[in-house]
Symmetry: C2
Subunit: 393 residues, 2 copies
């Protein structure tokens, strides 16, 4: 039995199983699609017709039939349309154009403070998106949907940021509405760590059901996949582990207003601050990564300690959700194995043996592309859902 629950990693309904089946590029008949999805033949026939009319799937060869005329096989036509995947970080933004199979065709990134506000950042997205499309010789009409990751809590249903701590001017801003003034297509907005988890899963762990993606950068957060689904939680803020208090943090003030938070001790800026206090000239997390790459022992030790701090919080996470993969990403993961070694040291020492026996704690395989990939996957998945196809047809 094929695992049609997999599609719901993107948080949409099981009805998009049809598209998931076609997405692998393997041609299938209507009868095969009905059997594999459990949907009625009449439903499959309608969906196939809609997808054909939109050019999203195409007939490929014919199947040998047990009698009567041969049945047509269909497969995804990945180049038919494109999506835009956007990753807005605290101080840097990136966007990519991907085809319907999730292959990135072009991408571009540059420093851009999210604190410049939504209109400045989204204007850049629109301009850079047009440039990327033009560079590929594609038209705005080829764009089928847009996925955007933002560095703060987002109400997924409406695409509005909710009290984002490092995003002045963005609170409850109608991101989809603004972008749709320029591109009248579906716009999906989610937390950048959630979309990174989707990107990591799609890139490197297609068969994993329980995965945590942990981003360690200006902030610290996690995307949680349990039972093959991205879990957003009751308020959409599942994975917000940066403000869990840790033992070493006692009394240290955090920008959230609380004290002793993980983020105040182990984020890029926190590690840099610790090194400055020790008389070392660093400004940002990226400076720390450079020092580590040059073998600076103080920087190596500070990064390893940050890994231990993160491991302290992840130990509770491992006990609670029992993942099989923890993928560590974000700018600080570029410091090589030192950060992960600290995480492993604590998680393996403190967890129950059964929980860690088959647990992999690894550097993100999707790396710096995790977020734009995940944003693209979110956009593709939504665009090819039955409701969207019905709306287009």
């Amino acid at each position: 039995m094929i695992d049609i629950a997999r599609d719901s990693a993107l948080g949409t309904s099981g009805a998009s199983a049809l598209f998931q089946l076609l997405r692998d590029g393997q041609p299938r008949t209507r009868a095969e699609l009905a059997t594999l999805t459990g949907l009625a033949r009449s439903t499959i026939a309608l969906r196939v017709d809609s997808l054909m009319q939109l050019g999203l799937i195409r007939p490929v060869g014919e199947a040998i039939s047990t009698g009567g005329r041969p049945s047509s096989r269909f497969a995804l036509n990945p180049g038919a349309r494109v999506v835009l995947g956007v990753d807005v970080g605290a101080s840097h933004a990136k966007l990519a154009i991907a085809d319907l199979a999730g292959t990135i065709l072009a991408q571009h990134g540059e420093p851009l403070p999210v604190a410049d506000g939504p209109e400045a950042v989204l204007s850049w997205v629109v301009d850079a998106g047009h440039d990327l499309l033009a560079g590929l010789g594609r038209d705005t009409a080829d764009l089928i949907s847009i996925g955007i990751g933002l560095p703060g809590p987002v109400e997924f249903k409406t695409g509005r940021p909710i009290n984002p701590p490092i995003m002045p001017g963005w609170d409850r801003f109608d991101v989809p509405g603004w972008v749709q003034q320029h591109w009248p297509v579906p716009v999906l907005v989610d937390n950048d760590v959630n979309i990174s988890a989707i990107g990591e899963l799609a890139t490197a762990w297609p068969d994993v059901e329980h995965l945590m993606f942990v981003k360690v950068a200006t902030g610290i957060g996690a995307g949680v996949v349990s039972g093959g689904r991205l879990q957003r939680g009751a308020q959409g803020i599942a994975g917000d582990i940066g403000h869990v208090q840790i033992a070493r943090g006692a009394g240290v003030p955090c920008h959230c207003g609380n004290r002793g938070c993980l983020e105040a001790m182990a984020s890029g800026p926190a590690i840099a601050r610790g090194l400055r206090d020790a008389g070392i000239d660093v400004q940002t997390g990226r400076d720390v990564v450079e020092l580590v790459k040059h073998g600076n022992i103080d920087a190596v030790q500070a990064v390893r300690q940050a890994g231990r701090d993160i491991g302290e919080v992840l130990t509770a996470c491992v006990s609670l959700i029992n993942p099989s993969i923890i993928a560590i990403g974000g700018a600080m993961a570029q410091a090589g194995e030192h950060l992960i070694a600290g995480v492993r040291e604590v998680v393996y020492a403190r967890s129950m043996p059964l929980a860690t026996e088959h647990l992999g704690i690894v550097q993100s395989r999707a790396g710096e592309d995790a977020a734009v990939l995940g944003a693209s996957m979110l956009a593709i998945h939504h665009a090819l859902s039955p409701a969207s196809i019905d709306a287009m047809a």
Copy 2:
């Protein structure tokens, strides 16, 4: 659109949506069932026929048709068969007979140490089960399936306990195989806290998608429902929060072999030990509850501190999975509001406002019945799944 994901709280496939629809007792036609589940009409017709032949559903009245002959409506026949739900605790066991709607018809419990080993405990289950059935005037042939909760990690797929710390003789014991020598029906075995989460959800929170059930008794553990599904994790040990280290626990040895675990500080025996160290004559957690009920100030303070310790771990859980309900159950929850007050004190002080704005931290509503109810639900759900019905037909 009806939420057919709800059925998967019990961890089975979406195909049992049909039964979930019928379980509410509302009569529906084949056409309505096809529309609501998205399953093919031919599939629905086959399932309805099988369920009718087994007497599990019955025709009730006729629907007004748009033409032609009237369509029959069907509803669950709750009294057709019964299930047995079993809750084996560390020192006490309980079992219940429930109908197919999950209504408990009879129950019985008595002190029984799980450390007596699987054959002694399961022999008691068989004897007491026969007595309960006889008392209801039901026959063994009426029993359609059995759900069993055990106080340790269980490999759900095989029903075997895996390295259970407080269950000598049970490691990898074939629980379903042994029980089936006496009752040849499906036997589902899971961790007692997981089944309690299912029972709590079914009893009191039918619309909640993100819930934690925390059992505080001889041990401490949690059942995690995320996205409407019980999450067992990669090794089936999700929710095993009793061995997360807490600040106050530094150095205190735990029976797991580690130090400073939550369970070594805040379980019933740990609270009793703390009070004995202060010169108060208590042996068990239940003694502590009695003292609290009599207003003993030392006992009240100890229970409240245990609540704070539990809150320390739950703060990380709240950040990670963002539940809307945390239900506290187990013997120590009988100490009234004192335990929960301690939990709330820490969780509300340390969590991000958005995570706690709509978070309820409450005493379990299913109470002492949570586990037998959940075991019954697990049994019902499995028995009425398409695969089981096909096997019976």
